[in-house]
């Protein structure tokens, strides 16, 4: 029996539905594009966008910036991104006679002029980083939110 992956993204779609990696339409399909890319295609074809994106890692949930953030009295001050993206990074190291590999998942919330990334080590899960960047050209970006 294939074990349930311990890392998955969860996205809320503008029609109110939820897309979950490794579940339903978004399982791994050998020879096809990754679930995230298939989600982006589905959104574009149906004139939808994401209202929130989060990562579940070993039962912990990390929330990216979202629209209508109604916690901690920050609703009036929080700002929603116009879109999201996701990519992976992989490092291979031939280090003193041992070839080791480390993978990272990189979820980003995009604003006009800058992006906020959450990068998580998904090989051993020990480290994560929050990074603000300028000038991103995401490989797989969701359709942009149009309403304020």
């Amino acid at each position: 029996m294939t074990p349930t992956p311990e890392v998955r993204w969860i996205a809320t779609i503008s029609d109110g539905s939820t897309a979950v990696e490794h579940s339903g339409e978004y399982t791994v399909r050998p020879g096809e594009r990754k679930p995230w890319v298939r989600l982006c295609t589905f959104l574009a074809e149906n004139d939808l966008h994401l209202t929130s994106l989060r990562l579940n890692l070993m039962g912990r949930t990390i929330h990216l910036p979202r629209s209508k953030f109604d916690r901690f009295d920050m609703n009036e001050r929080s700002r929603a991104p116009h879109s999201y993206s996701l990519q992976y990074h992989i490092e291979g190291e031939l280090d003193n006679g041992t070839f080791s590999q480390t993978q990272f998942v990189d979820l980003a919330a995009h604003y006009d002029g800058f992006s906020v990334h959450y990068v998580q080590d998904i090989t051993d899960g020990n480290n994560s980083w929050v990074i603000v960047t300028e000038g991103d050209s995401p490989l797989a970006e969701t359709p942009r939110r149009t309403e304020k």
Partner: protein, 186 residues
């Protein structure tokens, strides 16, 4: 290690001069020598090999292609005269394959040698060029000198990165360092 649910990884092959490949075990080393395995290097390496972590020669019959730096835009391949870069992919000694169960595209990546903490390795000059792409050598000693790898925009389950390398130790031999290759994909 976490259970990821995705299945990407790097494989490293040595490309032999007879056109075959030698899969590098996770504990193997890339070994640069003078004319023969283990010979002292006079300027830049004249042969390239795979060796075990214990130093035993793995490509004993047919060696890896050798790409020796001559100038910023020229190379000697397997002892032949000067040729302009880029080195043909089929003549690069190292083949890194990023494999995946799913089709992926690659935004780009980087390739460099390093000592501890991504710092340069002492007493060595190390050049690399991406096969079929780089028209000049780049010295890639340390993260700040990394070679940027080209993007792969066509979805595929395997993406090849062919690397030509040239090793020039200032002490003749015995300098060891680490190799890092990175890619970003989805």
């Amino acid at each position: 290690m976490l259970i990821l649910g995705n299945t990407e990884g790097w494989k490293l092959y040595g490309r032999l001069t007879n056109g075959n490949f030698l899969f590098a075990d996770p504990t193997d080393r890339v070994y640069f020598s003078g004319a023969n395995f283990g010979d002292v290097i006079l300027s830049a390496q004249d042969s390239t090999h795979l060796a075990t972590s214990g130093g035993a020669h793995r490509c004993t019959t047919t060696h890896l292609h050798n790409t020796k730096y001559l100038s910023g835009s020229t190379v000697s391949i397997n002892g032949a005269g000067s040729t302009s870069l880029p080195v043909a992919s089929s003549q690069c000694p190292l083949l890194f394959v990023l494999f995946s169960l799913e089709e992926i595209v690659i935004e780009g990546g980087s390739f460099y040698i390093y000592s501890t903490g991504d710092n340069p390795v002492a007493n060595v000059t190390f050049y690399a060029a991406e096969g079929g792409v780089s028209s000049t050598w780049k010295e890639i000693n340390g993260y700040n000198n990394r070679l940027t790898l080209s993007a792969r925009s066509t979805p595929a389950t395997d993406h090849d990165f062919n690397m030509a390398c040239s090793y020039m130790p200032s002490t003749g031999s015995g300098v060891t360092g680490n190799i890092k290759i990175r890619a970003s994909y989805v």
